[in-house]
């Protein structure tokens, strides 16, 4: 990872042209070759960028980044304030929130907590748009795709809907029905799930983990 903080102008030429006037910016060059120019604001989106694969040519006072489509990004440095490079090593990837990953593990071991008679086919079953948390088979032999969230909100239902669309294209699995599982599911998410004929189940994480509550139960 190479970082340059500099007063610079940036010209992009390709499908359209764009110009960033002179200002202080952060230029990032990542190990895979991606180049991104950031202002001092916004969470993630650069002002301009060029994805890898590309070719970076360093000239005196300027860089020219070119890709296979012939698009160019020209950065002209007025003053360089800071420059560093650091090898970040291999990234382990985005880890799911601890509770969510733990929930998936616990529920994979105890699918009966979700629905009686469910049998696990596979955890993290791959689809072209990402893995679905659990793929199971119900008592009648129907395939069930299960999305697990800590908090069940509308976007989780949307995500499961997309998985179902892909899974149902697979003749070996279809018909696939969906189950949305969370510790707590928002009313809007329940309505949306029901409307799409997706079932939903709220599970007690602490109970699944066998955490002993001081409040004892009769059964």
């Amino acid at each position: 990872m190479r970082l340059v903080v500099a007063d610079c102008t940036v010209e992009y030429a390709g499908r359209l042209s764009a110009h960033l006037p002179l200002a202080t910016r952060l230029v990032m060059v990542k190990a895979d070759g991606c180049v991104a120019i950031h202002a001092d604001g916004g969470a993630y989106k650069p002002l301009n960028w060029m994805n890898a694969p590309n070719h970076l040519t360093e000239h005196e006072g300027s860089w020219v980044v070119t890709n296979a489509k012939g698009e160019t990004l020209t950065i002209v440095f007025e003053t360089i304030h800071f420059e560093t490079a650091h090898d970040l090593g291999e990234d382990p990837g985005l880890q799911k929130d601890g509770v969510e990953a733990e929930l998936q593990k616990l529920l994979a071991e105890r699918t009966e907590e979700i629905e009686d008679g469910l049998e696990l086919i596979r955890r993290e079953y791959p689809t072209p748009i990402g893995p679905v948390d659990l793929l199971c088979r119900d008592r009648e032999g129907t395939t069930v795709a299960i999305e697990i969230k800590r908090r069940g909100e509308i976007d989780g239902v949307e995500q499961l809907t997309r998985y179902l669309e892909f899974l149902n294209r697979d003749a070996r699995l279809a018909p696939v029905r969906g189950l949305f599982v969370a510790q707590e599911i928002k009313p809007q998410a329940k309505v949306l799930a029901s409307d799409r004929e997706i079932g939903w189940v709220e599970v007690d994480y602490e109970l699944l983990k066998g955490i002993e509550s001081p409040a004892l139960r009769l059964f």
Binding site: V191, E212, P214, A215, L216, R217, L218, F219
Partner: protein
């Protein structure tokens, strides 16, 4: 449809039927009550599809017919009119409510959208003493859960036995069990407590009739009917939760205990239990909350058993004490981790099983 009736009577039938109407319903039509005028009687029906309340009133009929009017607005409108005769006239999409001057003109809801509430498939039907039945329901209702994630626990179980009716509710932390001796009925099923809570205000009367069908329970009186969909599923086998015998027994004044628990709960709030130090001569109540302080007191009482400390959730305990209808109560225990049984000193018709809190 056109009728005339006394303001208070009309406001009453509308408001009681409106108790089944929920503002949370996604169907706009369920914000309305159906008014049907036939043969000298106005019948008002409110429903949320699970609970349906029908009320009736003898009225002066000027024109028979039917309409659906916004439940809360119409009943409030009638209630706020000057005392005396009030008339309701539905025509051409409007309902006119007038009485001694003021006039409301409300938009009718589309009567075709109002759900057809089928008369329940019921068998038999038993007459019960209204106040005693409602009292019993309120005694067990305290233990019913409000957590819709486990619908079975939100109900009161009706179990018809040879010479009595048994009512049971539990949220898994406590269980209330009430026998109504002499009530012979074939009523068996699991009835949502949220519906039973409405019985008293909606149709409460000295005489009530209880009828159970396969899918519904119907409670009726001269003031109307409340029909409710039964909860499907199997209620936990609760009879096995009652130990055969309890070795230790505390007998104390209900009022003294209730007051002491009330004081303890000031410090405890919901989540901190009150400790009962049981010993010959009575019970030492104590509660400690680290960031606040503590409270202790002693109650003189009869205690038979080994010295023992057991702790209870203050709310659950005071719910149970409040439900008992006697001067003295008995708390039976076996072990600090096993359920305690709370009941009146004289009668075992009401039993309240309460799980302790681990110390």
């Amino acid at each position: 449809m056109k009728i005339r009736a006394e303001r208070d009577d009309l406001a009453d039938v509308l408001a009681r039927a409106a108790r089944a109407v929920t503002t949370r319903s996604p169907l706009p039509i369920l914000q309305g009550v159906l008014c049907v005028v036939e043969g000298g009687t106005l019948t008002v029906t409110g429903t949320d599809l699970e609970v349906t309340i029908r009320t009736t009133l003898e009225v002066e009929v000027l024109e028979e017919g039917r309409t659906v009017i916004p439940a809360r607005l119409a009943s409030e409108a009638v209630r706020k009119l000057p005392a005396g005769a009030v008339s309701i006239h539905a025509r051409e999409g409007e309902v006119e409510i007038t009485g001694n001057g003021p006039r409301f003109r409300l938009r009718e809801l589309n009567i075709d959208d109002f759900p057809q509430i089928s008369e329940p498939d019921t068998v038999g039907g038993s007459s019960v003493d209204g106040p005693a039945f409602l009292k019993a329901l309120s005694q067990v209702g305290i233990a019913a859960s409000t957590d819709e994630a486990r619908p079975i626990l939100t109900g009161v179980l009706f179990e018809a036995e040879s010479d009595h009716l048994r009512l049971v509710a539990t949220d898994s932390y406590r269980l209330a069990d009430r026998i109504l001796p002499g009530v012979i009925t074939d009523a068996s099923g699991l009835v949502p407590y949220r519906a039973l809570k409405e019985l008293s205000r909606a149709i409460g009367d000295p005489k009530l009739t209880v009828r159970f069908g396969d899918r519904d329970a119907v409670f009726s009186s001269d003031r109307g009917t409340l029909q409710v969909r039964l909860i499907e599923g199997t209620f936990p086998n609760v009879s096995q939760l009652f130990p055969d015998s309890y070795p230790y027994q505390l007998k104390a004044s209900r009022a003294e205990l209730l007051e002491a628990v009330g004081r303890a709960s000031l410090v405890a709030e919901d989540h901190i239990p009150v400790r009962f130090g049981l010993h010959t001569g009575g019970v030492e109540l104590s509660v400690t909350r680290q960031e606040v302080g503590d409270e202790t007191e002693h109650i003189n009482a009869d205690y038979n058993g080994d010295e023992m400390t057991i702790a209870f959730n203050t709310k659950y305990l005071s719910d149970g004490l409040n439900a008992i209808d006697e001067d003295d109560v008995v708390l039976e225990t076996a072990d600090p981790l096993k359920p305690g049984l709370l009941r009146g000193a004289e009668s075992e018709d009401f039993r309240y099983l309460l799980m302790p809190v681990r110390l």
